[in-house]
Amino acid sequence: MLEIAKQAVDTATASGASYADARVIERESQNIQTKGMNVSGLNLGNSYGLGIRVLCNGGWGFAATQDLTREGIDKAARKAVEIARASARCMEKPIELAPEPAHKAVWKSPCKIDPFTVSIEDKLAVLFKTAETMLAVKGVTLAQTDMTFIKEHKLFVSSEGAEIDQTFIRSSCGLTANATDDHDRQKRSYPNSFGGQHENAGWEMVGRWDLPGNAQRIAEESVQLLKAPQCPHGVGTVIIGASQLGLQIHESCGHPSELDRALGQEINFAGASFLTPDLLGHLKYGSPIVNLVADATATGALGGFAYDDEGVEAQCVPLVKDGMFVGYLSSRDTANLIGIKRSGGAMRAESWHHQPIIRMTNISLRPGTAGSLADLIANTSDGIYFDTNKSWSIDDRRYNFQFSTEAGYKIKNGKIVGLLKNASYGGITTEFWNSCDAICSQDYVDWGVPNCGKGQPSQTMWTGHGAAPARFRNVQYGIAHS
């Protein structure tokens, strides 16, 4: 791998590139899905290729190939330089990179049991036991389970002398129970919706989340939702469960903190950001207990790594400190545009054949002092607890959001008194975070979001979101069905 990357960089610089970096990536993946008591999907994949990014005359060029012969590598490198020259014809201001030391390192993400050493039979045994338990619940019309495992070996080399060898193992598992009657469709998922929980971890995470042990409870709740009353429409106190809050952070803090968005570079598709550079250090984003960080050093969370895809060392960057907006997710070229001395290390690409863009790392809400979820509910006289995302939408500057969750729970005098279906809440980002009056100190989880979409052509990315349940006042709820 090292020879391939070095040859690509050498050819690019010999062809006129002022800077070049190469990523050689080998990826192995395994996805297993069950529907009912059958295997509905068993897809194994492997991928191996080279992506080379260059600067020439101040413009970017990127080419990628799986032809890793000497001829194929040279062809891709020269093509990247040609593309960069074409880019330079459309530049008012040449690209400049913020400085970064040329790191040399070898790193592996945390993993106790390599999931690729566990047999397919053992994996299916867990999934079928889970499915069987769900299907035993009367009223469940469809039971689905999912496991995905990815092993990725990535080598980064740059013309500045960086040589970084990283190996990632990512694992995920989840279940979904669906219940349908003549009038309604409801579902419940565990540990989270959209494939379950996702971590930089090995097979050990599957045991930790215990799908079979949670299958009956979740399945029963999917059926109960059919008969549950509709979430009412009103304004009041809400408690947002940890996984839902993770997605709230993703949409209303993570995306607007991306500096490329704030600078208008993503305005054609993903959108811009209300967090414009003039507000840095001046905007009261949230209440004083709100502290949000972009923490790539949390290596067990899905957005963790040691170095990003332009060789910048992982960092923990404060985004919101004591409620004030103080930082961005940045790259070497965008950091330079607003005078940040060093990139925050947020450049990543979906694969060897994608050009890196600014992506969330682990955007996490620091725990508060409110104890456990049970404590928070006990200290709430009237409200609704929202659990497990079902639907999410936010405007292109990241102000107006609306989320629906699979389940809502009515809280009265410190106790849950009933289930609510079609639960939804919405608001304006800064008003919402400024209404936060309690964050749990327990029940904190680094949730993984594996499907963050951004870029043109669209790329998906693994991001992480540490969160504990939190309480917000004067929030509009029930609006989706009102």
Binding site: L44, A63, L263, N268, H353, S393, I428
Partner: protein, 463 residues
């Protein structure tokens, strides 16, 4: 001015080379399993991205992938790889044959389709969807188009952001029953946002031929909307008559298409469950799936190599048919329609060549006939809230206008909507001509602009 000094791109993988790889895999598998299906895909689609009148990214990846499905009795598995060397393909086949034996039997697994079932329909149409100028466009030619958009925006003192992409994709499928199909097509996609001080405008086109993509005209259109929507005012949320351009219609109706999949009925997930044969939509709604339509794209065979057929989905508001893959057809005693996805898959099938019949009204005419309403330019972040009625939420963006007394009064701040697709298609007042339209939340389709009554806006935002 286009330059030709750079090398053109080449077709990433030809029909003969695709067949060679497929035959290699089939020969290596021999008779060790009951059936082998091999798919080879290739892409060299290149994209130039720009913002603030500067190129921000410019990428031209090339990729060929091979995937192998093996069937052994009532077991099946799919393995895929980017390694298309002889040893890589042989390794892939060996691994698939080894892995399939580890699976439990699945009574729903079918043998590979018989050769007769996979013979393409004879259709008297020109099915060449590859345009060399588009598929082999150079980086310099893309830069020329980008510069033309930047110039157009600058002329109006606006900045400009967007993409200009072009290239080709191919797919070949073959199996151990002797079937082989190959399809390649070109595509050009251009989208542009013109940015003003407190407003913006957007336009997008996706077409198999770059000659039909006028980048400068798109930028002019985006600039016009940015200027027209300057200094947007608040309007209260509520129910309005709304005019939706085709790109918005694509993004909203994209959430309906999957409910015509027979598997979604078997799984009791579809909003149309039990409604085949019933009038579900307004009398003026007619939708079919037609891969042969002149404004459509894509291959004329499905994920198992079956020929795609034309299926009437909605006729005068009545749900007429579903689409079937082989597995769902067997379960529902129907004939496969050629809409199967690659097996194994939980989804089964999907209609991908949607054509909604249009009318004759232009958007200007729709505006003239509206006393009070809202004209949208684009919908954004559309998501399914409730599958029972296909209740969707999303936002407007890039130019939203209040219509009063048959005229556009002024630009308004963006609004959030919560709308059921089924309700929406019962409230269509007027249809424009059907065109090939591209949005962001769904794939391109042939749809008209629509004027819709009682479109529910639930809240506003700050810009």
């Amino acid at each position: 001015m286009a330059s030709t000094r750079l090398e053109r791109q080449q077709i990433v993988i030809s029909e003969s080379e695709s067949k060679r790889l497929i035959d290699l895999a089939l020969a290596h598998a021999g008779k060790r399993v009951d059936g082998v299906e091999v798919t080879v895909t290739g892409s060299n689609f290149a994209t130039s991205r720009f913002a603030n009148n500067n190129m921000t990214q410019n990428q031209a990846p090339e990729r060929v992938s091979v995937s192998v499905r093996v069937i052994s009795g009532k077991r099946q598995i799919r393995l895929s790889s980017d390694d298309i060397s002889q040893s890589g393909i042989e390794h892939l086949v060996d691994n698939a044959i080894k892995a399939v034996a580890l699976l439990p039997e699945d009574p729903t697994v079918l043998p590979l389709p018989a050769l007769a079932l996979t013979e393409p329909l004879a259709r008297d149409v020109d099915f060449n969807r590859y345009d060399r100028e588009t598929g082999e466009m150079s980086a310099d030619q893309r830069s020329d188009s980008v510069n033309s958009m930047i110039e157009a925006a600058k002329k109006h003192n606006l900045s400009c952001a967007g993409t200009y992409g072009a290239g080709g994709d191919s797919i070949a499928i073959g199996n151990s029953n002797g079937m082989f199909h190959y399809h390649n097509e070109s595509a050009c996609e251009c989208s542009v946002t013109a940015v003003a001080a407190n407003s913006s405008g957007w336009a997008k086109v996706h077409n198999p031929k770059s000659i039909h993509v006028d980048a400068r005209a798109l930028a002019e259109s985006a600039a016009k909307n940015a200027i027209l929507s300057a200094d947007p005012k608040d309007v209260p949320p509520g129910k309005y008559t709304v005019i939706l351009p085709p790109s918005a219609v694509v993004d909203l109706l994209g959430f309906l298409w999957g409910d015509f999949s027979a598997t979604s009925h078997i799984d009791k997930l579809s909003s149309l469950l039990g409604k085949v044969g019933q009038k579900v939509f307004g009398e003026n709604i007619n939708i079919k799936d037609d891969v042969f339509h002149p404004m459509q794209a894509g291959a004329r065979f499905d994920g198992e190599g079956l020929p795609r057929t034309v299926v009437t989905l909605v006729d005068k508001g009545v749900v007429k048919n579903l689409v079937y893959g082989r597995k769902s057809a067997a379960k529902m005693n129907a004939k496969p329609t050629g809409h199967g996805v690659s097996e194994p898959s939980p989804e089964g099938e999907f209609p991908v060549n949607l054509v909604m019949e249009g009318g004759t009204a232009s958007i200007d005419e729709m505006v003239k006939s509206t006393d009070r309403g809202i004209l949208l330019s684009r919908v954004w972040y559309v998501r399914l809230v409730d599958p029972t009625t296909i209740l969707l939420t999303g936002m407007t963006r890039d130019g939203t206008f209040l219509i009063e007394n048959g005229k556009i009064s002024y630009g308004i701040k963006n609004l959030r909507f919560n709308v059921s697709v089924i309700d929406m298609l019962n409230n269509v007042l007027t249809l424009g001509p059907s065109v090939r339209a591209a949005g962001e939340d769904s794939f391109p389709a042939v749809v008209p602009a629509l004027k819709v009554a009682n479109f529910n806006f639930s809240s506003t935002t700050k810009f």
